[in-house]
Amino acid sequence: MNSRLIKYIILEIIAIIIAIFWLIPLYSMLINGFKTNFEATATPVLFPPKVFTISSYITVWGEMKRPLINSIIIAIPVAFISTIFGEMAAYFFYVTSERMPAVSNTGFSIISLATFIPYQATLLPLIELEASWGLFNSYQGLIFALLIFYMPTAALLMSIFIPVIPKYLIEAARIDKASDWTVFWKVVFPLTIPGFLATMIFVFIESWNNFFMPLVLTSSPSLRLIPVAERAFTGGYGTLYNDSYAAAVIASIVPLVVFIILGRYFIKGLAALGGGAKGV
Protein backbone atom coordinates (compact mmCIF):
# COMPACT_ATOMS: atom_id res chain seq x y z
CA MET A 1 0.00 0.00 0.00
CA ASN A 2 1.39 3.36 -0.90
CA SER A 3 0.97 6.52 1.11
CA ARG A 4 -1.40 8.13 -1.40
CA LEU A 5 -3.85 5.26 -1.06
CA ILE A 6 -3.73 5.58 2.73
CA LYS A 7 -4.44 9.29 2.44
CA TYR A 8 -7.46 8.55 0.25
CA ILE A 9 -8.77 6.07 2.77
CA ILE A 10 -8.37 8.59 5.60
CA LEU A 11 -10.23 11.21 3.55
CA GLU A 12 -13.01 8.75 2.80
CA ILE A 13 -13.36 7.89 6.46
CA ILE A 14 -13.58 11.57 7.45
CA ALA A 15 -16.17 12.12 4.73
CA ILE A 16 -18.21 9.12 5.85
CA ILE A 17 -18.19 10.22 9.50
CA ILE A 18 -19.43 13.70 8.58
CA ALA A 19 -22.03 12.21 6.27
CA ILE A 20 -23.32 10.03 9.11
CA PHE A 21 -23.81 13.13 11.24
CA TRP A 22 -25.66 14.71 8.34
CA LEU A 23 -27.95 11.70 8.05
CA ILE A 24 -28.94 11.50 11.73
CA PRO A 25 -32.08 13.68 11.35
CA LEU A 26 -33.29 11.68 8.36
CA TYR A 27 -32.62 8.43 10.19
CA SER A 28 -34.47 9.50 13.31
CA MET A 29 -37.43 10.71 11.25
CA LEU A 30 -37.67 7.37 9.45
CA ILE A 31 -37.40 5.09 12.49
CA ASN A 32 -39.59 6.84 15.05
CA GLY A 33 -42.79 6.74 13.03
CA PHE A 34 -42.69 2.95 13.34
CA LYS A 35 -42.70 3.03 17.14
CA THR A 36 -45.81 2.69 19.28
CA ASN A 37 -46.84 5.89 20.94
CA PHE A 38 -45.57 4.65 24.30
CA GLU A 39 -42.20 3.69 22.88
CA ALA A 40 -41.86 7.01 21.07
CA THR A 41 -42.33 8.93 24.29
CA ALA A 42 -40.14 6.61 26.37
CA THR A 43 -37.20 5.48 24.24
CA PRO A 44 -34.34 7.58 22.84
CA VAL A 45 -34.91 9.20 19.49
CA LEU A 46 -31.80 7.60 18.06
CA PHE A 47 -32.82 4.03 18.94
CA PRO A 48 -34.75 1.92 16.44
CA PRO A 49 -38.18 0.57 17.46
CA LYS A 50 -38.37 -2.69 19.40
CA VAL A 51 -41.91 -3.29 18.22
CA PHE A 52 -42.48 -2.38 14.62
CA THR A 53 -45.91 -0.86 13.94
CA ILE A 54 -47.54 1.31 11.31
CA SER A 55 -50.39 2.40 13.54
CA SER A 56 -49.22 6.02 13.58
CA TYR A 57 -49.22 6.15 9.79
CA ILE A 58 -52.76 4.86 9.75
CA THR A 59 -53.80 7.53 12.26
CA VAL A 60 -52.07 10.35 10.42
CA TRP A 61 -53.04 9.29 6.92
CA GLY A 62 -56.67 10.28 7.39
CA GLU A 63 -55.69 13.87 8.09
CA MET A 64 -52.76 14.10 5.73
CA LYS A 65 -54.52 12.67 2.68
CA ARG A 66 -56.32 15.86 1.71
CA PRO A 67 -53.29 18.16 2.21
CA LEU A 68 -51.20 15.73 0.17
CA ILE A 69 -53.67 15.98 -2.72
CA ASN A 70 -53.83 19.77 -2.28
CA SER A 71 -50.05 20.02 -2.46
CA ILE A 72 -50.04 17.99 -5.67
CA ILE A 73 -52.79 20.21 -7.12
CA ILE A 74 -50.68 23.28 -6.33
CA ALA A 75 -47.06 22.24 -6.85
CA ILE A 76 -47.34 20.48 -10.23
CA PRO A 77 -49.00 23.33 -12.13
CA VAL A 78 -46.74 25.88 -10.44
CA ALA A 79 -43.63 23.96 -11.48
CA PHE A 80 -44.86 23.38 -15.03
CA ILE A 81 -46.26 26.84 -15.76
CA SER A 82 -43.27 28.58 -14.15
CA THR A 83 -40.76 26.63 -16.14
CA ILE A 84 -42.44 26.95 -19.56
CA PHE A 85 -43.06 30.69 -19.28
CA GLY A 86 -39.80 31.22 -17.42
CA GLU A 87 -37.89 29.61 -20.26
CA MET A 88 -39.69 31.78 -22.79
CA ALA A 89 -38.70 34.90 -20.85
CA ALA A 90 -35.14 33.65 -20.55
CA TYR A 91 -35.04 33.12 -24.31
CA PHE A 92 -36.37 36.63 -24.85
CA PHE A 93 -33.69 38.12 -22.59
CA TYR A 94 -31.04 36.02 -24.33
CA VAL A 95 -31.88 37.16 -27.85
CA THR A 96 -32.26 40.78 -26.80
CA SER A 97 -29.05 40.81 -24.76
CA GLU A 98 -27.01 42.12 -27.67
CA ARG A 99 -29.36 44.63 -29.21
CA MET A 100 -30.93 45.89 -26.03
CA PRO A 101 -28.51 45.13 -23.21
CA ALA A 102 -30.29 47.55 -20.91
CA VAL A 103 -33.57 45.64 -21.30
CA SER A 104 -32.08 42.24 -20.66
CA ASN A 105 -29.90 43.42 -17.76
CA THR A 106 -32.86 45.05 -16.06
CA GLY A 107 -34.95 41.97 -16.72
CA PHE A 108 -32.29 39.71 -15.25
CA SER A 109 -31.94 41.92 -12.18
CA ILE A 110 -35.69 41.90 -11.59
CA ILE A 111 -35.99 38.13 -11.87
CA SER A 112 -33.02 37.78 -9.49
CA LEU A 113 -34.78 40.09 -7.08
CA ALA A 114 -37.98 38.05 -7.27
CA THR A 115 -36.02 34.83 -6.79
CA PHE A 116 -34.11 35.84 -3.70
CA ILE A 117 -36.23 38.47 -2.01
CA PRO A 118 -37.47 37.32 1.41
CA TYR A 119 -40.98 36.64 0.10
CA GLN A 120 -42.39 37.14 3.59
CA ALA A 121 -41.68 40.84 3.10
CA THR A 122 -44.59 41.08 0.63
CA LEU A 123 -47.02 39.64 3.18
CA LEU A 124 -49.30 42.62 3.73
CA PRO A 125 -49.77 43.87 0.15
CA LEU A 126 -50.01 40.28 -1.09
CA ILE A 127 -52.91 39.51 1.21
CA GLU A 128 -54.56 42.83 0.33
CA LEU A 129 -54.14 42.11 -3.39
CA GLU A 130 -55.45 38.57 -3.13
CA ALA A 131 -58.38 39.71 -1.02
CA SER A 132 -59.34 42.45 -3.46
CA TRP A 133 -59.10 40.07 -6.44
CA GLY A 134 -61.08 37.44 -4.59
CA LEU A 135 -58.15 35.01 -4.67
CA PHE A 136 -57.61 34.76 -0.92
CA ASN A 137 -58.09 31.28 0.50
CA SER A 138 -58.33 29.50 -2.87
CA TYR A 139 -56.26 27.16 -5.03
CA GLN A 140 -55.93 29.87 -7.66
CA GLY A 141 -54.75 32.35 -5.03
CA LEU A 142 -52.01 29.99 -3.83
CA ILE A 143 -50.90 29.20 -7.37
CA PHE A 144 -50.93 32.90 -8.24
CA ALA A 145 -48.82 33.84 -5.21
CA LEU A 146 -46.30 31.07 -5.84
CA LEU A 147 -46.03 32.04 -9.51
CA ILE A 148 -45.06 35.58 -8.50
CA PHE A 149 -41.88 34.17 -7.01
CA TYR A 150 -41.24 30.93 -8.85
CA MET A 151 -41.83 32.05 -12.44
CA PRO A 152 -38.97 34.57 -12.10
CA THR A 153 -36.94 31.84 -10.38
CA ALA A 154 -37.49 29.58 -13.37
CA ALA A 155 -36.63 32.44 -15.73
CA LEU A 156 -33.42 33.04 -13.79
CA LEU A 157 -32.39 29.38 -13.93
CA MET A 158 -33.26 29.09 -17.60
CA SER A 159 -31.31 32.28 -18.35
CA ILE A 160 -28.32 30.44 -16.97
CA PHE A 161 -29.04 27.24 -18.93
CA ILE A 162 -29.98 28.76 -22.31
CA PRO A 163 -26.59 30.39 -23.10
CA VAL A 164 -25.17 26.87 -23.30
CA ILE A 165 -26.79 26.66 -26.75
CA PRO A 166 -24.30 28.12 -29.22
CA LYS A 167 -25.52 31.47 -30.49
CA TYR A 168 -24.75 30.50 -34.08
CA LEU A 169 -27.56 27.92 -34.03
CA ILE A 170 -30.07 30.64 -33.26
CA GLU A 171 -28.51 32.85 -35.93
CA ALA A 172 -28.65 30.03 -38.45
CA ALA A 173 -32.33 29.55 -37.64
CA ARG A 174 -33.01 33.25 -38.15
CA ILE A 175 -31.31 33.18 -41.55
CA ASP A 176 -33.46 30.14 -42.32
CA LYS A 177 -36.45 32.45 -41.77
CA ALA A 178 -37.64 30.75 -38.61
CA SER A 179 -39.97 32.89 -36.48
CA ASP A 180 -39.12 33.44 -32.81
CA TRP A 181 -41.81 30.90 -31.95
CA THR A 182 -40.27 28.30 -34.29
CA VAL A 183 -36.76 28.98 -33.01
CA PHE A 184 -37.98 28.50 -29.45
CA TRP A 185 -39.91 25.28 -29.96
CA LYS A 186 -37.78 23.65 -32.67
CA VAL A 187 -34.27 24.65 -31.59
CA VAL A 188 -34.04 26.18 -28.11
CA PHE A 189 -36.49 24.00 -26.22
CA PRO A 190 -35.27 20.60 -27.49
CA LEU A 191 -31.68 21.54 -26.73
CA THR A 192 -32.36 22.71 -23.18
CA ILE A 193 -34.38 19.76 -21.94
CA PRO A 194 -31.88 18.85 -19.17
CA GLY A 195 -31.94 22.46 -17.93
CA PHE A 196 -35.71 22.49 -18.25
CA LEU A 197 -36.02 19.38 -16.08
CA ALA A 198 -33.55 20.78 -13.54
CA THR A 199 -35.57 23.98 -13.31
CA MET A 200 -38.91 22.22 -13.11
CA ILE A 201 -37.77 19.86 -10.37
CA PHE A 202 -36.16 22.69 -8.44
CA VAL A 203 -39.34 24.77 -8.57
CA PHE A 204 -41.48 21.74 -7.74
CA ILE A 205 -39.49 20.95 -4.58
CA GLU A 206 -39.34 24.59 -3.52
CA SER A 207 -43.06 25.17 -3.94
CA TRP A 208 -43.94 21.85 -2.31
CA ASN A 209 -41.88 22.78 0.72
CA ASN A 210 -43.06 26.37 0.96
CA PHE A 211 -44.58 26.78 4.42
CA PHE A 212 -45.18 30.51 4.55
CA MET A 213 -47.51 31.02 1.58
CA PRO A 214 -50.13 28.43 2.54
CA LEU A 215 -49.81 29.54 6.17
CA VAL A 216 -50.83 33.11 5.42
CA LEU A 217 -52.96 32.75 2.28
CA THR A 218 -55.37 30.04 3.37
CA SER A 219 -57.68 29.86 6.32
CA SER A 220 -59.94 26.88 5.70
CA PRO A 221 -58.66 23.41 6.73
CA SER A 222 -59.80 21.90 3.42
CA LEU A 223 -57.19 24.02 1.62
CA ARG A 224 -54.30 23.12 3.88
CA LEU A 225 -51.06 22.16 2.21
CA ILE A 226 -48.69 19.51 3.47
CA PRO A 227 -46.18 21.67 5.42
CA VAL A 228 -48.97 23.43 7.32
CA ALA A 229 -50.91 20.24 8.01
CA GLU A 230 -47.79 18.61 9.33
CA ARG A 231 -47.37 21.33 11.93
CA ALA A 232 -50.68 20.35 13.50
CA PHE A 233 -48.93 17.18 14.69
CA THR A 234 -45.99 18.85 16.40
CA GLY A 235 -47.57 19.33 19.79
CA GLY A 236 -45.31 22.29 20.53
CA TYR A 237 -41.99 22.44 22.37
CA GLY A 238 -40.57 19.12 21.32
CA THR A 239 -43.31 16.93 22.70
CA LEU A 240 -42.63 13.50 21.34
CA TYR A 241 -45.22 11.27 19.90
CA ASN A 242 -45.14 8.81 17.10
CA ASP A 243 -47.80 10.57 15.02
CA SER A 244 -45.62 13.62 14.43
CA TYR A 245 -42.84 11.43 13.03
CA ALA A 246 -45.27 9.76 10.67
CA ALA A 247 -46.61 13.17 9.61
CA ALA A 248 -43.08 14.35 8.90
CA VAL A 249 -42.41 11.28 6.75
CA ILE A 250 -45.62 11.74 4.78
CA ALA A 251 -44.80 15.43 4.29
CA SER A 252 -41.31 14.67 3.03
CA ILE A 253 -41.92 11.50 1.07
CA VAL A 254 -42.70 13.17 -2.26
CA PRO A 255 -39.73 15.58 -2.34
CA LEU A 256 -37.46 12.88 -0.93
CA VAL A 257 -38.45 10.36 -3.59
CA VAL A 258 -38.03 13.01 -6.28
CA PHE A 259 -34.66 13.87 -4.77
CA ILE A 260 -33.53 10.26 -4.73
CA ILE A 261 -34.67 9.51 -8.29
CA LEU A 262 -34.06 12.86 -9.99
CA GLY A 263 -31.70 14.44 -7.47
CA ARG A 264 -29.07 15.20 -10.06
CA TYR A 265 -31.51 17.61 -11.72
CA PHE A 266 -32.31 19.33 -8.44
CA ILE A 267 -28.58 19.62 -7.71
CA LYS A 268 -28.00 20.91 -11.23
CA GLY A 269 -30.59 23.60 -10.57
CA LEU A 270 -29.01 24.58 -7.27
CA ALA A 271 -25.54 24.56 -8.79
CA ALA A 272 -26.71 26.82 -11.60
CA LEU A 273 -27.72 29.48 -9.07
CA GLY A 274 -24.15 29.58 -7.88
CA GLY A 275 -21.84 28.56 -10.65
CA GLY A 276 -23.47 28.91 -14.03
CA ALA A 277 -24.61 25.99 -16.14
CA LYS A 278 -21.50 23.84 -15.87
CA GLY A 279 -22.36 22.36 -12.51
CA VAL A 280 -20.64 19.54 -10.67
Binding site: E171, I175, L191
Partner: protein
Protein backbone atom coordinates in the same frame (compact mmCIF):
# COMPACT_ATOMS: atom_id res chain seq x y z
CA UNK B 1 -29.07 37.11 -57.94
CA UNK B 2 -27.81 40.16 -56.15
CA UNK B 3 -25.05 42.75 -56.24
CA UNK B 4 -23.52 43.60 -52.87
CA UNK B 5 -22.04 46.98 -52.09
CA UNK B 6 -20.39 47.95 -48.82
CA UNK B 7 -19.56 51.57 -48.16
CA UNK B 8 -17.30 52.94 -45.38
CA UNK B 9 -18.41 50.18 -43.04
CA UNK B 10 -17.10 50.53 -39.49
CA UNK B 11 -17.71 48.23 -36.55
CA UNK B 12 -16.48 49.01 -33.07
CA UNK B 13 -16.87 46.57 -30.18
CA UNK B 14 -16.75 47.76 -26.61
CA UNK B 15 -15.85 45.08 -24.14
CA UNK B 16 -15.67 46.65 -20.74
CA UNK B 17 -12.98 49.27 -21.07
CA UNK B 18 -11.48 47.79 -24.22
CA UNK B 19 -12.48 49.27 -27.53
CA UNK B 20 -11.82 47.11 -30.55
CA UNK B 21 -12.15 48.51 -34.05
CA UNK B 22 -13.02 45.33 -35.92
CA UNK B 23 -13.81 47.01 -39.26
CA UNK B 24 -12.45 50.41 -40.17
CA UNK B 25 -14.14 52.18 -43.12
CA UNK B 26 -14.36 49.14 -45.34
CA UNK B 27 -15.69 49.56 -48.86
CA UNK B 28 -16.22 46.83 -51.39
CA UNK B 29 -18.37 45.78 -54.35
CA UNK B 30 -19.28 42.29 -55.42
CA UNK B 31 -21.05 42.04 -58.75
CA UNK B 32 -24.08 39.94 -59.42
CA UNK B 33 -22.93 36.35 -59.84
CA UNK B 34 -19.34 37.06 -58.83
CA UNK B 35 -17.35 35.39 -56.10
CA UNK B 36 -15.32 37.41 -53.66
CA UNK B 37 -12.82 36.20 -51.08
CA UNK B 38 -11.95 37.92 -47.83
CA UNK B 39 -8.56 36.90 -46.55
CA UNK B 40 -6.92 37.83 -43.29
CA UNK B 41 -5.46 36.68 -40.03
CA UNK B 42 -7.80 35.42 -37.33
CA UNK B 43 -9.04 38.34 -35.25
CA UNK B 44 -8.46 40.67 -38.17
CA UNK B 45 -12.14 41.48 -38.63
CA UNK B 46 -13.10 39.35 -41.60
CA UNK B 47 -15.84 37.36 -39.88
CA UNK B 48 -17.25 40.61 -38.46
CA UNK B 49 -17.50 41.96 -42.00
CA UNK B 50 -19.31 38.84 -43.18
CA UNK B 51 -21.69 38.92 -40.21
CA UNK B 52 -22.54 42.52 -40.98
CA UNK B 53 -23.30 41.62 -44.58
CA UNK B 54 -25.56 38.86 -43.22
CA UNK B 55 -27.28 41.35 -40.93
CA UNK B 56 -26.21 39.58 -37.76
CA UNK B 57 -24.18 42.55 -36.56
CA UNK B 58 -25.24 46.16 -36.55
CA UNK B 59 -22.73 48.51 -38.22
CA UNK B 60 -21.31 51.28 -36.05
CA UNK B 61 -21.06 53.37 -39.19
CA UNK B 62 -21.40 52.94 -42.95
CA UNK B 63 -23.88 51.32 -45.29
CA UNK B 64 -24.52 47.99 -46.94
CA UNK B 65 -26.54 47.81 -50.16
CA UNK B 66 -28.09 44.82 -51.90
CA UNK B 67 -28.79 45.87 -55.52
CA UNK B 68 -28.69 49.58 -54.57
CA UNK B 69 -31.20 48.97 -51.77
CA UNK B 70 -29.91 49.90 -48.29
CA UNK B 71 -30.02 46.88 -45.98
CA UNK B 72 -27.82 48.16 -43.14
CA UNK B 73 -27.22 51.72 -42.03
CA UNK B 74 -25.29 53.23 -39.12
CA UNK B 75 -26.58 51.63 -35.91
CA UNK B 76 -29.49 50.17 -37.77
CA UNK B 77 -30.52 46.99 -39.51
CA UNK B 78 -32.94 48.03 -42.25
CA UNK B 79 -33.57 44.57 -43.68
CA UNK B 80 -33.43 41.81 -41.05
CA UNK B 81 -31.24 38.80 -41.85
CA UNK B 82 -34.30 36.58 -42.39
CA UNK B 83 -35.51 38.92 -45.14
CA UNK B 84 -32.22 39.26 -46.99
CA UNK B 85 -32.57 36.03 -48.99
CA UNK B 86 -29.13 34.92 -47.99
CA UNK B 87 -27.55 31.71 -46.83
CA UNK B 88 -24.67 31.47 -44.45
CA UNK B 89 -22.51 28.38 -44.01
CA UNK B 90 -20.95 28.69 -40.55
CA UNK B 91 -17.44 27.62 -39.68
CA UNK B 92 -18.79 24.76 -37.55
CA UNK B 93 -21.77 24.33 -39.87
CA UNK B 94 -24.41 25.07 -37.21
CA UNK B 95 -26.47 21.99 -37.94
CA UNK B 96 -29.36 21.63 -35.48
CA UNK B 97 -28.25 18.67 -33.35
CA UNK B 98 -31.82 17.74 -32.45
CA UNK B 99 -32.93 17.28 -36.08
CA UNK B 100 -32.05 14.66 -38.68
CA UNK B 101 -30.07 15.74 -41.73
CA UNK B 102 -33.34 15.68 -43.67
CA UNK B 103 -35.05 17.97 -41.17
CA UNK B 104 -32.05 20.25 -41.12
CA UNK B 105 -32.20 20.71 -44.88
CA UNK B 106 -35.99 20.99 -44.87
CA UNK B 107 -36.04 23.53 -42.02
CA UNK B 108 -35.78 26.73 -44.12
CA UNK B 109 -38.47 25.43 -46.48
CA UNK B 110 -40.84 24.55 -43.64
CA UNK B 111 -40.40 28.06 -42.31
CA UNK B 112 -41.77 29.54 -45.52
CA UNK B 113 -44.70 27.10 -45.35
CA UNK B 114 -43.83 25.27 -48.53
CA UNK B 115 -46.10 22.25 -49.25
CA UNK B 116 -44.69 18.95 -48.01
CA UNK B 117 -44.43 17.31 -51.41
CA UNK B 118 -42.44 20.24 -52.77
CA UNK B 119 -40.13 20.18 -49.74
CA UNK B 120 -39.55 16.48 -50.24
CA UNK B 121 -38.76 16.98 -53.91
CA UNK B 122 -36.28 19.77 -53.25
CA UNK B 123 -34.50 18.04 -50.38
CA UNK B 124 -34.14 14.85 -52.42
CA UNK B 125 -32.79 16.80 -55.38
CA UNK B 126 -30.17 18.75 -53.44
CA UNK B 127 -29.08 15.74 -51.41
CA UNK B 128 -28.52 13.83 -54.67
CA UNK B 129 -26.39 16.65 -56.03
CA UNK B 130 -24.34 16.76 -52.88
CA UNK B 131 -24.22 12.99 -52.42
CA UNK B 132 -25.71 12.81 -48.94
CA UNK B 133 -28.92 11.00 -49.79
CA UNK B 134 -27.87 7.95 -47.79
CA UNK B 135 -27.54 9.88 -44.52
CA UNK B 136 -30.77 11.89 -44.60
CA UNK B 137 -32.30 9.90 -41.77
CA UNK B 138 -29.28 10.28 -39.49
CA UNK B 139 -28.56 12.91 -36.89
CA UNK B 140 -25.59 15.24 -37.42
CA UNK B 141 -23.52 13.53 -34.71
CA UNK B 142 -23.83 10.23 -36.58
CA UNK B 143 -22.29 11.35 -39.88
CA UNK B 144 -18.78 12.27 -40.98
CA UNK B 145 -17.33 15.77 -41.10
CA UNK B 146 -17.53 15.87 -44.87
CA UNK B 147 -21.19 14.82 -44.82
CA UNK B 148 -21.97 17.42 -42.17
CA UNK B 149 -20.33 20.08 -44.28
CA UNK B 150 -22.32 19.02 -47.35
CA UNK B 151 -25.51 18.94 -45.28
CA UNK B 152 -24.83 22.51 -44.18
CA UNK B 153 -24.25 23.45 -47.79
CA UNK B 154 -27.46 21.69 -48.81
CA UNK B 155 -29.41 23.60 -46.17
CA UNK B 156 -27.87 26.82 -47.49
CA UNK B 157 -28.67 26.09 -51.14
CA UNK B 158 -32.08 24.44 -50.87
CA UNK B 159 -33.90 27.73 -50.42
CA UNK B 160 -32.38 29.27 -53.57
CA UNK B 161 -30.65 32.18 -51.85
CA UNK B 162 -29.59 35.29 -53.72
CA UNK B 163 -26.32 35.49 -51.85
CA UNK B 164 -24.18 32.73 -50.40
CA UNK B 165 -21.91 33.59 -47.50
CA UNK B 166 -19.24 31.12 -46.44
CA UNK B 167 -17.40 31.56 -43.14
CA UNK B 168 -14.26 29.38 -43.10
CA UNK B 169 -16.39 26.52 -44.42
CA UNK B 170 -13.53 24.07 -44.95
CA UNK B 171 -11.35 24.67 -41.90
CA UNK B 172 -12.98 21.90 -39.88
CA UNK B 173 -12.54 19.31 -42.63
CA UNK B 174 -9.72 16.79 -42.94
CA UNK B 175 -7.04 17.89 -45.39
CA UNK B 176 -7.74 15.00 -47.81
CA UNK B 177 -11.36 15.95 -48.49
CA UNK B 178 -10.93 19.72 -48.48
CA UNK B 179 -10.07 19.91 -52.17
CA UNK B 180 -13.09 17.93 -53.32
CA UNK B 181 -15.32 20.05 -51.06
CA UNK B 182 -13.87 23.21 -52.57
CA UNK B 183 -14.38 21.91 -56.09
CA UNK B 184 -18.00 21.05 -55.32
CA UNK B 185 -18.76 24.51 -53.95
CA UNK B 186 -17.12 26.13 -56.95
CA UNK B 187 -19.05 23.96 -59.39
CA UNK B 188 -22.42 24.70 -57.81
CA UNK B 189 -21.64 28.40 -57.55
CA UNK B 190 -20.86 28.50 -61.26
CA UNK B 191 -23.92 26.51 -62.29
CA UNK B 192 -26.22 28.79 -60.34
CA UNK B 193 -24.11 31.91 -60.99
CA UNK B 194 -24.71 32.60 -57.33
CA UNK B 195 -23.15 35.71 -55.81
CA UNK B 196 -20.77 34.31 -53.20
CA UNK B 197 -18.58 35.79 -50.50
CA UNK B 198 -16.11 33.55 -48.73
CA UNK B 199 -14.06 34.36 -45.65
CA UNK B 200 -10.93 32.38 -44.85
CA UNK B 201 -7.45 32.53 -43.44
CA UNK B 202 -6.39 29.80 -45.85
CA UNK B 203 -5.36 31.13 -49.29
CA UNK B 204 -6.22 27.74 -50.81
CA UNK B 205 -9.91 28.40 -50.09
CA UNK B 206 -9.73 31.78 -51.76
CA UNK B 207 -7.83 30.50 -54.83
CA UNK B 208 -10.27 27.66 -55.38
CA UNK B 209 -13.50 29.62 -54.89
CA UNK B 210 -12.96 33.32 -55.52
CA UNK B 211 -12.11 35.37 -58.59
CA UNK B 212 -11.38 38.55 -56.69
CA UNK B 213 -10.36 38.97 -53.11
CA UNK B 214 -9.55 41.55 -50.48
CA UNK B 215 -6.98 41.28 -47.74
CA UNK B 216 -8.00 42.58 -44.30
CA UNK B 217 -5.31 43.61 -41.86
CA UNK B 218 -6.33 45.10 -38.52
CA UNK B 219 -9.82 45.94 -39.71
CA UNK B 220 -8.83 47.56 -42.99
CA UNK B 221 -8.69 46.37 -46.57
CA UNK B 222 -5.05 46.79 -47.49
CA UNK B 223 -5.36 45.36 -50.99
CA UNK B 224 -8.20 44.30 -53.25
CA UNK B 225 -7.82 42.66 -56.62
CA UNK B 226 -7.76 39.57 -58.76
CA UNK B 227 -6.41 36.65 -56.74
CA UNK B 228 -3.39 35.95 -58.95
CA UNK B 229 -2.57 39.65 -58.97
CA UNK B 230 -2.61 39.59 -55.16
CA UNK B 231 -0.37 36.56 -55.18
CA UNK B 232 2.17 37.93 -57.63
CA UNK B 233 2.09 41.59 -56.68
CA UNK B 234 1.38 41.93 -52.96
CA UNK B 235 1.70 45.48 -51.67
CA UNK B 236 3.35 44.44 -48.46
CA UNK B 237 5.14 41.64 -46.69
CA UNK B 238 1.99 40.89 -44.65
CA UNK B 239 -0.15 40.49 -47.78
CA UNK B 240 2.48 38.33 -49.42
CA UNK B 241 2.52 36.02 -46.38
CA UNK B 242 -1.27 35.80 -46.15
CA UNK B 243 -1.43 34.62 -49.78
CA UNK B 244 1.03 31.78 -49.41
CA UNK B 245 4.43 30.60 -48.28
CA UNK B 246 7.17 33.12 -48.86
CA UNK B 247 10.75 33.52 -47.63
CA UNK B 248 11.55 37.00 -46.40
CA UNK B 249 15.19 37.47 -45.53
CA UNK B 250 17.14 40.61 -44.76
CA UNK B 251 19.80 41.55 -47.27
CA UNK B 252 22.38 44.26 -47.71
CA UNK B 253 22.25 46.40 -50.86
CA UNK B 254 25.68 46.55 -52.43
CA UNK B 255 26.79 47.70 -55.84
CA UNK B 256 25.24 45.34 -58.40
CA UNK B 257 24.02 42.84 -55.79
CA UNK B 258 21.97 42.19 -52.71
CA UNK B 259 24.10 40.22 -50.29
CA UNK B 260 22.76 37.67 -47.83
CA UNK B 261 25.67 36.01 -46.01
CA UNK B 262 27.72 34.35 -48.71
CA UNK B 263 24.84 34.62 -51.20
CA UNK B 264 24.63 37.40 -53.74
CA UNK B 265 21.55 38.21 -55.80
CA UNK B 266 22.46 40.27 -58.91
CA UNK B 267 20.80 43.68 -58.63
CA UNK B 268 21.68 46.80 -60.56
CA UNK B 269 18.77 49.19 -59.92
CA UNK B 270 19.29 52.34 -57.87
CA UNK B 271 17.60 52.52 -54.48
CA UNK B 272 18.25 54.70 -51.45
CA UNK B 273 18.18 51.91 -48.92
CA UNK B 274 21.12 49.91 -47.68
CA UNK B 275 19.00 47.24 -46.01
CA UNK B 276 16.03 45.52 -47.69
CA UNK B 277 13.88 42.48 -47.11
CA UNK B 278 14.02 40.03 -49.96
CA UNK B 279 10.81 38.08 -50.53
CA UNK B 280 10.78 34.98 -52.68
CA UNK B 281 8.32 32.09 -52.78
CA UNK B 282 9.57 28.52 -52.41
CA UNK B 283 8.40 27.51 -55.88
CA UNK B 284 10.54 30.26 -57.43
CA UNK B 285 13.71 28.75 -56.05
CA UNK B 286 15.60 25.57 -56.88
CA UNK B 287 18.55 23.76 -55.54
CA UNK B 288 21.06 21.82 -57.58
CA UNK B 289 24.61 20.49 -57.70
CA UNK B 290 24.88 21.85 -61.26
CA UNK B 291 26.09 25.41 -61.62
CA UNK B 292 23.58 26.56 -64.24
CA UNK B 293 19.80 26.09 -64.66
CA UNK B 294 17.92 27.75 -67.49
CA UNK B 295 15.87 30.86 -66.49
CA UNK B 296 17.31 30.73 -62.99
CA UNK B 297 20.20 32.61 -61.42
CA UNK B 298 22.75 30.88 -59.24
CA UNK B 299 23.13 32.97 -56.07
CA UNK B 300 25.65 30.89 -54.15
CA UNK B 301 26.26 27.85 -52.05
CA UNK B 302 23.90 26.65 -49.32
CA UNK B 303 23.70 23.73 -46.95
CA UNK B 304 20.55 21.60 -46.58
CA UNK B 305 19.44 21.67 -42.92
CA UNK B 306 16.13 19.85 -42.94
CA UNK B 307 14.47 17.76 -45.61
CA UNK B 308 10.78 16.90 -45.38
CA UNK B 309 7.87 15.91 -47.58
CA UNK B 310 4.32 17.15 -47.96
CA UNK B 311 1.62 16.83 -50.62
CA UNK B 312 3.88 15.49 -53.36
CA UNK B 313 6.73 17.94 -52.88
CA UNK B 314 9.99 17.66 -51.00
CA UNK B 315 10.42 20.68 -48.74
CA UNK B 316 13.92 21.74 -47.85
CA UNK B 317 15.21 24.22 -45.33
CA UNK B 318 18.57 25.55 -46.48
CA UNK B 319 21.04 28.06 -45.04
CA UNK B 320 23.91 29.99 -46.59
CA UNK B 321 27.09 28.14 -45.66
CA UNK B 322 28.41 31.27 -43.98
CA UNK B 323 25.44 31.83 -41.67
CA UNK B 324 23.22 29.07 -40.26
CA UNK B 325 20.79 31.52 -38.68
CA UNK B 326 19.41 32.54 -42.09
CA UNK B 327 16.91 30.04 -43.50
CA UNK B 328 15.12 29.57 -46.81
CA UNK B 329 12.32 27.15 -47.48
CA UNK B 330 12.78 25.64 -50.97
CA UNK B 331 10.75 23.13 -52.98
CA UNK B 332 12.50 20.21 -54.60
CA UNK B 333 11.42 17.45 -56.97
CA UNK B 334 13.75 14.92 -55.43
CA UNK B 335 14.80 14.04 -51.94
CA UNK B 336 18.08 15.63 -50.85
CA UNK B 337 19.72 14.48 -47.65
CA UNK B 338 20.32 17.05 -44.96
CA UNK B 339 23.94 18.11 -44.58
CA UNK B 340 24.59 18.22 -48.29
CA UNK B 341 25.90 21.44 -49.85
CA UNK B 342 24.51 22.69 -53.16
CA UNK B 343 23.81 25.80 -55.24
CA UNK B 344 20.69 27.89 -54.65
CA UNK B 345 18.90 29.25 -57.72
CA UNK B 346 16.13 31.85 -57.92
CA UNK B 347 13.95 33.36 -60.64
CA UNK B 348 15.00 37.00 -60.34
CA UNK B 349 11.83 38.39 -61.94
CA UNK B 350 9.77 36.82 -59.15
CA UNK B 351 11.75 38.44 -56.39
CA UNK B 352 10.01 41.10 -54.29
CA UNK B 353 11.73 43.73 -52.19
CA UNK B 354 10.26 45.25 -49.02
CA UNK B 355 11.54 48.03 -46.79
CA UNK B 356 12.10 47.49 -43.10
CA UNK B 357 8.40 48.28 -42.38
CA UNK B 358 7.33 45.54 -44.77
CA UNK B 359 6.10 47.88 -47.52
CA UNK B 360 6.76 46.75 -51.05
CA UNK B 361 9.43 48.84 -52.80
CA UNK B 362 9.95 46.70 -55.88
Amino acid sequence: MVKVKVKDLTKIFKKGKNIVVANDKISLEVDDGATFGILGESGGGKTTLLRQIAGLEIPTDGYIYFDEKVVSAPNKIIVEPENRNISLVFQNWALYPNMTIYDNIAFPLKNIKMPKSEIDKRVTEISETLNIKQVLKHYPREVSGGQMQRAALARALVKNPKLLLLDEPFSNLDAQIRDSARALVRKIQKELSLTTIIVSHDPADIFSIAEDAGVIVRGKFVQIGNVSELYNNPISETVSKLLGDINTVEGEVKEKAIVIGNLAIPFDKKIDLTEVKVGIRPEDMRISQAEIIKNYVNIGKVKVKVSSYSAGIFKLIVSPISDESIEFSVNSETHIRSGIEAFLFIRPEKMKLFDSNGNRIM
